[in-house]
């Protein structure tokens, strides 16, 4: 820290950075820089590579190719400790709090050596630090007891403790209300006028246009260019963010199973990160849930499945859904297809056959013994119907590709005759394009049988093509509803990037 070196024109510079996670190319030859005293915003859809770029800049991830320079110094070995030493501060979207330690201890661990107070003075020091930032929380409380707003603000405070030359803010306003956003922006402006370079990542375009000097756009891991914020409009940014010509095929919305009769009814449902939510889904309808990641969509879906706690009312075909038990939801006919299939729904080491039939073994058994031939026939049927590509149904599920794994988890609602509502969380995440259509078709087929579907997806194109109606969530609430002719990718993206703020300011 002793040699700041000659004043560099940029405080952060990434050159030709590429990064792949398995088969997914998250970033492809991206260059990015940030000058002292500017707010440089980074925008892009979910999965466009924003967080990966920040991860690489902060040393948490190592790039496959390319370089990172902080304050003019080339990084050698990627480590967050080194990045911090070079003058980089970062507020993570998912935070860096150790929830079982106190607020004071969390702050203490976030300060570099030369700024650190004596251990005994930690709490006094933490209290005065928090006061300086206008954050009113007890320093003795463990970080886990803080509200989401407090956690988010604490994360920003922590990132500033080392007096960084460049500050990365990853979606710093997801939990904040309009007033807190203003407070945060005032803080950000203060730092940038003091010469700190700020990289501001957000999907909320009005916020971005309000605070940024320059804006860079990422799409599918490729940079779409850097622009002066002054000449930019939301429309132009949205066009840059989505602008892909690739069209996916979707099954016909023939409306065969459509009956104007509400199957799933939700009123005043609230829980961790979402609510209150009122919603009705009809028989044979596919309802999409859109929104930027972390706005309560997952929690809402899981609450309906009884996996997360909630308050309020939810019913399926007149049966009250008990918010405490996944089993009660299953009995009422509500099935959750988890987005994290290998962790939550499949048994990776067991065979395709076992994974397919595990919930319906009783119907395949006589006197408690499985009728293997009948089981095989059932599984073969499902494999053909969903076009699962495999060598044998005795193959362990983990040896299949992501798309085929997802299809295996989809077989379960098909085998149960009593399913009324399917809650699908990212049904095509990590699934290749070819397999996607099979999954869309399977979901539509289920709707045509009169099942109500709720699909949570971070892909607006998918929602626009698959769903009959889409609701947009922001900060845990439904802020927009799109149906009929209006339903298109662009309209959804606009609602995601503008909705939260527009509604909040109204």
């Amino acid at each position: 820290m002793s040699t700041p070196g000659p004043e560099s024109p940029v405080v952060l510079s990434l050159g030709g950075v590429s990064k792949a996670f398995g088969a997914v190319q998250a970033l492809r030859d991206v260059s990015f820089d940030c000058r002292p005293g500017e707010v440089h915003a980074l925008v892009g859809e979910n999965g466009s590579g924003k967080s990966t770029l920040l991860g690489i800049a902060s040393g948490f991830l190592a790039p496959d190719k390319g370089f990172v320079e902080i304050g003019g110094r080339r990084r050698r070995r990627g480590s967050p400790a080194e990045a911090r030493r070079f003058g980089l501060g970062i507020a993570y979207q998912t935070y860096s709090h150790v929830l079982d330690l106190s607020v004071a201890e969390n702050l203490y661990l976030a300060v570099p050596g030369n700024e650190r107070p004596a251990y005994g003075r930690m709490e006094t020091w933490a209290a005065s630090t928090l006061e300086e930032f206008g954050l009113d929380v007890s320093v003795k409380a463990s970080a886990g007891t803080l509200s989401l707003v407090q956690r988010q603000l604490l994360e920003v405070v922590k990132s500033l403790l080392a007096r960084p030359k460049v500050l990365l803010l990853d979606e710093p306003t997801t939990a904040l209300g309009p007033q807190e956003v203003e407070q945060l922006h005032a803080l950000v402006r203060g730092r940038s006028s003091a010469g700190v370079g700020i990289v501001y990542v957000s999907h909320r375009l009005p916020e971005v246009l309000g605070i940024a000097d320059r804006i860079s756009v990422l799409r599918d891991g490729v940079s779409q260019g850097t622009f002066e914020a002054a000449g930019m409009t939301e429309d132009a940014l949205v066009a840059l963010m989505i602008g892909r010509p690739l069209q996916l095929a979707f099954p016909e919305r023939d409306g065969d199973g459509r009956v104007p009769e509400a199957l799933l009814e939700v009123s005043g449902l609230r829980g961790d990160r979402f609510g209150p939510i009122d919603l009705k889904v009809e028989k044979g309808e596919i309802l999409g849930i859109a929104g930027a990641e972390g706005n309560g969509q997952v929690q809402f879906l899981r609450a309906l499945a009884g996996v997360e706690r909630s308050e309020g009312r939810a019913s399926c075909d007149g049966d009250e859904l008990n918010s405490k038990s996944p089993l009660a939801a299953l009995r009422a006919g509500v099935v959750l297809l988890s987005g994290d299939r290998t962790r939550d729904s499949l048994f990776p080491v067991l065979s395709v056959r076992t994974n397919t039939t595990i919930q319906v073994l009783a119907s395949l058994a006589r006197l408690g013994f499985l009728r293997r031939r009948r089981e095989r026939r059932t599984v073969d049927d499902m494999v053909r119907r969903l076009r699962v590509r495999l060598a044998s149904i005795e193959q362990p599920v983990q040896s299949l590709s992501g798309g085929n794994q997802q299809k295996v988890s989809l077989t379960r609602p098909f085998l149960r005759g009593d399913v009324k509502v399917i809650l699908a969380e990212e049904p095509t995440q990590g699934v290749d394009v070819g397999a996607r259509f099979d999954i869309y078709e399977a979901l539509r087929a289920k709707a045509n049988e009169g099942v109500a579907l709720v699909v949570k997806s971070s892909d607006p194109l998918e929602l626009a093509g698959l769903c009959d109606r889409v609701v947009v969530m922001s900060r845990g609430k439904i802020v927009d509803e799109i149906r009929g002719d209006e339903l298109g990718e662009r309209r959804i993206v606009e609602a995601i990037v503008g909705g939260g703020v527009a509604r909040a300011n109204a």
Binding site: A26, S96, L101, Y108, L109, R309, S338, R343, Q429
Partner: protein, 333 residues
């Protein structure tokens, strides 16, 4: 230290006093100078292994290999600490024993941190290797240990072995370090939440690596005191792996990492030795000791979690299964 950290210390102190008083009243042989000195000396190996083990538990791991490592050190001692050696040779011999611990620790830490094996599997492998090696070197107990070394290790001031005073001071200092310094807080943070710790700029890899090395070195020092007890190169020494984990857990360590107390571990090690010490006085078979210890561990775990359980029932918050995820951690999403 927050309030719950004191529960194990208080519970163990009460248990030790109660069992001690009960025995003292009924058995004259208990409170004799000879027995107390013997009890404290016999606590030494377990106390040292368990203090080492607490380090591994703090970073969220286990070290099973300590059981075989203690044996290996005793066997090594039967070669390097022979009777009639010069003082200098004995000094080198002692270094060799600590060297065995250091090498084992680095080996374990490499498997766990660099090759990313789960600690329980990695140290189980090391356990097996060391056990085999010990049997290869001494297939039956032979090779007496130097009597001067034994006397030095057993040096006592009155009834109090000097080593025991040393280990008490060590445990207190270690707890002060753990709860009153930055590095101590850092090791707890790593055990509690490794991702956040790395994000905060801690060298999590180095911390975990060191924890396993320290654990093994402590086991090798325990080897000296074990050698002083059996006084011969025996390839069959008691099982310190599970007992040391038991002591650490009774002392307040969490199997999930990030929580623990060295003083608690020491108290628990003493308590476990106390149970083994008094059963023969009551003419009870030692099998009862094992069963008592098992039951107590279960009881202690339930008790230590009581505050959390009560809090959970009060607020009615209950996560079903383990479905809650930390959103956004999936790198490709």
């Amino acid at each position: 230290m927050r309030f719950r950290g004191w529960i194990p210390l208080v519970l163990l102190t009460v248990l030790i006093l109660a069992v001690g008083a009960f025995t003292a009243v009924r058995q004259d042989a208990f409170l004799t100078e000879y027995n107390i000195n013997n009890l404290l000396l016999s606590t030494m190996p377990l106390a040292l292994v368990a203090i080492g083990q607490t380090n591994a538990l703090l970073v969220g791991g286990f070290d099973i290999s300590v059981a075989a490592l203690v044996t290996m050190c005793v066997v090594t001692a039967s070669f390097t600490l022979k009777p009639d050696e010069t003082t200098f040779a004995l000094f080198l011999g002692s270094l060799a024993i600590v060297g065995v611990g250091l090498a084992t620790g680095v080996f374990n830490a490499t498997l766990i941190r660099i090759l990313r094996l789960p600690s329980i599997i990695a140290t189980l492998g090391t356990f097996s290797i060391l056990e085999g090696a010990s049997l290869l070197l001494r297939d039956h107990p032979e090779g007496p240990i130097n009597a001067d070394v034994i006397d030095a290790l057993n040096t006592s001031i009155g009834v109090m072995p000097a080593a025991f005073i040393g280990v008490v001071v060590l445990a207190v200092l270690a707890d002060v370090w753990l709860y009153r310094t930055r590095t101590g807080t850092a090791i707890r943070a790593v055990g509690l939440d490794e991702i956040s710790s790395r994000r905060l700029g801690m060298s999590t890899g180095r911390i975990v690596f060191l924890a396993f090395v320290v654990c093994a070195v402590f086991a090798s020092i325990a080897g000296f005191y074990s050698a002083a007890q059996v006084q011969i190169g025996s390839p069959i020494i008691g099982d310190y792996a599970l007992t040391s984990i038991a002591a650490a857990v009774l002392g307040g360590a969490s199997l999930a990492g990030g929580r623990g107390s060295f003083v608690g571990t020491l108290l628990a090690a003493f308590f476990l030795s106390l149970i083994s010490n008094i059963l023969p006085l009551f003419q009870q078979p030692t099998e009862y000791a094992q069963m008592t210890i098992g039951a107590l561990i279960l009881l202690a775990l339930v008790l230590y979690q009581a505050p959390e359980l009560i809090a959970r029932f009060r607020s009615g918050r209950q996560t079903v299964g383990r479905l809650r995820t930390r959103e956004g951690d999936a790198p490709a999403a």
